[in-house]
Symmetry: C2
Subunit: 765 residues, 2 copies
């Protein structure tokens, strides 16, 4: 735990001292994003200490040639990686011709704050330069939610008791490198640059993937309150700096307002970029930083109105959950079906900024419940648009006739990942994609998406499973061999219960959907059959396989078996692992992990999470009590599922223990790796722990059910969800639980099993 | 099959035309080696066409930093790679100042011959240079078996009907590159150079591994029959060329004799290198090429006397088997316990020139039966010397208390390989190393090695297995989870029958050996216990595990199961794979291969090969008939084991089909990859097919048993073995089988079950 210095505050993330060792961690924690772009909290001015520079543009990637030790047939040729984009936030400062640099200056005071209510990141530093001048820097910046190409910076340098010459140079620079590069390829090609009096732009293009990106800035300078019109410009290839120099007296200050950011060919054709961003920049300069910040606040207010969770009695918990909600909103706004939720968002390069099953398995419920339905639809459309690629991906692995295998990791629908045991075998991801369609239908009650688009995805997935199973004469059942389940501490196993069950469910769900459409909308049904070349015999084949799929179960323990042979293991509980050997993935060789009984993240229990109402309370209890003791939770995605299930078992304090493991994972840097970026997708798991865990929220038969439980450590909590246009708030305290209709029309709500009559006034439980 | 142009000849490998496309393949096939060094058949003179330069020094390697896509705990930091060494064979030729180059010249005649009786590689080319001069080059070279640092070249350029100026420049050059390099590191460091009038040497050192290597040459020139004393020298850093220029008349010739090679710090301390090789070179020049060649012939005669196999009625088969025996002898002479048998010998870089289980499983019987016993002892000592490293290797994977896991791939005893499913899981290699000790004892009847050294290896291996098994409460047996068997088309399986059986055998054999020593030599026994910290309870624990190990068996088919769950597979025989999808490892994705029933190489059947007399004929038949139809033989090591077993079942023609797949694998370039080097270790398998297959040779109870069968395609075959000092020849024809004592004292021999009374005269069957 390297960063334990974040000050507890219910709405703000505050750091109030400077530690060179924490700079990279803080760069992650104080990251900004607006769904379309984002960057780490790098200092604007030069910093010669250890730093991890990172600016990112949503959907803009480089196909980095695959690097492996030993090639396996079927590996993809490249890994699509998020790129470190040109720098638009930079502002060099010189004081009497000496560069101001926190690494060489003497720092008297340092603080930075991320105000989650407004999305404003601000910093104040008082320092003495290496040649003895004392000054204070105030910087503030945000990325506009109301204009996705726009970022705004206000940067002030104020002298203390001495006069000095101050030179301030806001610049844009495309000469940047990616940290995570397989072969040190140049990711960007320089295409040109242009400038006016106070506006400058760089045109770069990503190599191979050919995304055009325009990076721009427009600036204004003030000395004290007077605008300073005389400034110069320094241009080199790929770098344009405006430069304003002033001889300040003691107590005087110089301020730069800088409006900048990116426009990419994902947003507009390249020819229009320059005019488009020039317009944005000049409008922004005209309005000024402070007026724009007011606008930004209004937008964040709208988000919090639907998404906030309050926790009373535990400021750190309050801060933790808000930080998670804040970051999820910074990462993905749901406006664009070409984009998705990278596991590190805009906070680092690791995992390539690509899309994983995390989206459907962990993030989907959060966005569905805290946004408009269009956001969930965009997430579904993302996969729908990738269906053809998923079919091609399956074909590469030998599948035919429209079978679709969605990629493990992707940016544009093509598989990127290159570990055979994951890429080829962790195929349960296909089920999560089908499950999201089901969850959407259950939550929204809308059938149009499934009937027109979703059904194509469901059929592709059902076809995959129908081919992926094989008939075992020995078992007289269909089996699924050679797979990796959600527990990645097992590879190439046979008959992983979760995967087999999910495969069965996918074929069943696709078949049932088709039957239902046939009954209700025969024309649509015929169109589907025609479009997909479906036949009745194919659907019957799914049914046959659904009925005869093998689901490993042990009679003695009366539990489902994680996979064939699980009971051959040396079944020692995790409590017997010496503490200095935890986490085992950092201490044990891979083969030892594989043959151990230890479970990285919910596997059988993931099935209980998804398909809760297929099983009895007793079954859940037995399986939970059997598998939990072997679960090491060495994935940031793991504890939240156990938290929800423990709560479902009425074990609120055990649930709370799981909750604690994720809620401040990044703020407290539990895994000593926050410097690489935040765990964005696992943040959605924390939300699940509260809403589906402590809140016990479920959607059944077009109604919302709550079964709240309050952890001892809290005096109360509340959260809001958007259910079919009604914004509901659940408030839970020691004395009461109540559901309030904040906005919209009343809907069916059950609290602890009792129907709640909703009016815009509080209802007592 | 790219090289099908090798002329059939019983003692020679002959190529009699020039094809630029075959140059790299021929460079492999015509490779030379003398156990201490070797090189591909690169032309001496400049060649600007496609070529794969390769000169190698036994035991000299570079630790190339591991390259993987995704790191797994326990991976080694480097892969020890055989190095492409400085070039000592080079001779540049200029004719009227134009470089002679087969790539640009017009070639009239081209032939090359590898005479396996003498180890001489010779080449004759008649060409017209690009500016119209016709000349003939004769080159001949060999690597001395009688002086391991020495190679000898005789190189003649003869003019045809025109006068011309000829310049001949024999050189040594250390500015060379390795083709197989992970990170383009420089493998060699230049340390210095030195020369006399006709002697030159380069001192280089391998980076990181610090092997000093002295590369040298000494030269003499003749025009027609007259020695030419006037020649010059051109020196650059890392390159020394002597240069002799002569204006030749039509019909005149210029000849260079070049003696050269390497001395490495594996052989002598660096300080002595220069004097040592100077002495060797000058002695060699004094004797002259032709006299040295006579000496070489004598040495090869000695080898063939013990190792030859004759086949009548099939010249290609005769050529094939002799080529295999020849190459095995070029690769490993058994003089040095620091060396071993690289899968590509001195013929290419692939597989790093390192040691695999191939040595014990496939090569050991060949060297044991065709060499003196000291050679087999050196192979055993190689592993004995690596015992401590094997214990460290096991410790890295979490094993304790002296458990030894020999590496999958190694140069110095440390593990090199970096695929988790192989490196960590293909642990059956440990059993092959124990089995070689057993095979040595059985063959030689000698107990001293086992009692003094081998027992340490056996105990280390037994300890490994005792820790590697775990008790399954479910099965009430010891199981072995998470392994890869000899069939590498299965990974991370549970209870691979071969591995479980071999583990059981290892613990049993180590325990029995200790008991036997206790009875017969109590003092030695006590010393072993003291040295290894053994206790009676530890040995009893092995016994308990031996008795209770789980050996998967299927009652319905009455066969051993390759692994748990094998019968869940879609058991379609290999004949149903479409021919255009073979080999499957080039056409199918890895996951598809893994879940298929297809077997890369003998797995259960490898157990029947090693432990033949533990099982009945009926058991062998059932298991062979069950597994053979699923075996794709996509390892060059595979068909030979099936050949031996098919012969044991009395199916000589089926055995012959397997034999054909390996005997001319390289000569006919079945896999279109001979350009990368020869499959040295699989050549020993071909020998096994003849000796243990068609010859039916077995050693039991201190006697040799033969049960010969003659394939229809042959009229006769014979082979020799050295059994405890007696050189025996088995001759098999349509009309008779006979065993002859060629040399040494009579020993116990059985032919088709009947005892043979051996005298130095032929004995009729």
């Amino acid at each position: 735990m390297r960063v334990n210095h974040i000050v507890a505050d219910s709405w703000k993330i505050v750091e109030n001292s400077f530690h060179a060792d924490y700079v990279e961690s803080a760069e992650s924690i104080f990251s900004l994003g607006n769904g379309a772009m984002g960057h780490r909290a790098n200092f604007e001015e030069q910093y010669t200490g250890q730093s991890f520079q990172g600016s990112y543009i949503a959907g803009v990637y480089y196909p980095d040639k695959t690097k492996v030790g030993w090639w396996k047939n079927g590996y993809p040729e490249y890994f699509a990686k998020v790129l470190n984009a040109p720098n638009w936030i930079g502002i060099d400062v010189h004081c009497n011709n000496v560069a101001v640099d926190l690494n060489t200056a003497t720092i008297h005071d340092f603080s930075r704050t991320l105000d989650m209510r407004s999305g404003l990141y601000s910093r104040e530093v008082t320092l003495t330069t290496s040649d003895g001048i004392k000054l204070t820097i105030n910087s503030a910046r945000f990325l506009a939610l109301f204009q996705e190409e726009l970022g705004c910076i206000k940067y002030t340098v104020k002298l203390h008791g001495q006069a000095a010459q101050i030179r301030v140079s806001p610049y844009i620079d495309s000469n940047i490198k990616n940290k995570d590069s397989n072969w040190d390829d140049p990711f960007w090609a320089y295409m040109g640059q242009n400038r006016g009096v106070n506006f400058a732009m760089l045109h770069t293009k990503t190599n191979k993937s050919n995304f055009d990106v325009c990076t721009y800035q427009a600036v204004s300078f003030q000395v004290d309150d007077d605008e300073l019109k005389a400034f110069s410009c320094h241009e080199e290839k790929g770098r344009i700096a405006f430069e304003c120099q002033a001889n300040l007296k003691a107590g005087q200050k110089i301020t730069v307002e800088k409006m900048g950011g990116y426009c990419s060919s994902l947003q507009q054709p390249q020819e229009t970029h320059q005019n488009h961003v020039k317009q944005i920049a000049h409008n922004a300069l005209n309005k000024g930083f402070d007026a724009l910040l007011d606008l930004q606040k209004t937008h964040w207010e709208g988000i919090w109105k639907m998404a906030d969770i309050t926790i009373e009695g535990d400021t750190k918990a309050q801060q933790g959950i808000r930080f998670n909600i804040f970051q999820l909103n910074q990462t993905y706004t749901g406006k664009n079906a070409l984009l998705n939720i990278g596991p590190k968002g805009f906070t680092g390069e690791k995992y390539g900024g690509s899309t994983y099953w995390d989206t459907e398995a962990y993030c989907f419920p959060f966005y569905m419940a805290t946004k408009n339905e269009s956001v969930a639809e965009n997430l579904l459309n993302y996969r729908y648009k990738h269906l053809q690629k998923a079919i091609e991906n399956a074909a590469k692995l030998g599948f035919t006739d429209g079978a679709a295998l969605y990629p493990m990791v992707t940016m544009n629908g093509e598989e990127c990942h290159n570990e055979w045991e994951i890429t080829f075998e962790e195929i349960h991801r296909n089920a999560a994609i089908a499950y999201a369609i089901y969850a959407y239908e259950r939550y929204t009650g809308k059938t149009a998406y499934v009937e027109t688009k979703g059904i194509d995805v469901l059929v592709g997935i059902a076809r995959f499973w129908a081919q992926r199973v094989n008939f075992s004469k020995d078992k007289n059942k269909y089996v699924i061999l050679g797979i990796t389940g959600p527990n990645e501490y097992e590879n190439n196993v046979n008959n992983n219960w979760y995967t087999n069950y999910a495969a069965k469910w996918c074929m069943e769900y696709a078949g049932n959907k088709l039957e239902q459409i046939a009954k209700e909308k025969p024309k649509i049904h015929q169109a589907i059959y025609d479009r997909l070349g479906l036949s009745q015999s194919e659907v019957l084949d799914w049914k046959e396989k659904t009925c005869r799929i093998y689901l490993p179960h042990d009679a003695k323990h009366d539990v489902f078996l994680q996979q064939d042979g699980f009971l051959d293991k040396d079944l020692k509980e995790t409590s017997l692992i010496p503490p200095d050997e935890r986490p085992i993935n950092q201490h044990w060789s891979w083969d030892r992990i594989l043959r151990s009984p230890y479970i990285k993240q919910a596997d059988v229990l993931q099935g209980f999470y998804f398909f809760e109402d297929h099983f009895s309370f007793e079954q859940l209890k037995r399986n939970f009590d059997f598998y939990e003791p072997f679960t090491v939770h060495e994935s940031s995605l793991s504890p939240s599922i156990h938290a929800v299930l423990a709560a479902a078992l009425g074990r609120v304090e055990q649930s709370y223990e799981f909750y604690l493991r994720t809620s401040r994972l990044d703020l407290d840097d539990y895994n000593a790796e926050v410097d690489e970026g935040l765990h964005i997708t696992s943040m959605a798991g924390t939300w699940l722990s509260v809403v589906e865990g402590f809140g016990g929220m479920r959607i059944k038969n077009d109604a919302v059910y709550f079964s709240p439980q309050l952890p001892k450590a809290w005096t109360s909590f509340s959260f809001k969800i958007n259910f079919r246009g009604a914004i509901l708030e659940l408030f839970v305290s020691i004395s009461e639980s109540r559901v309030t209709l904040i906005e919209g029309e009343p809907c069916a709500v059950f609290l602890n099993g009792e129907s709640v009559s909703l009016t815009p006034k509080p209802v007592l439980s």
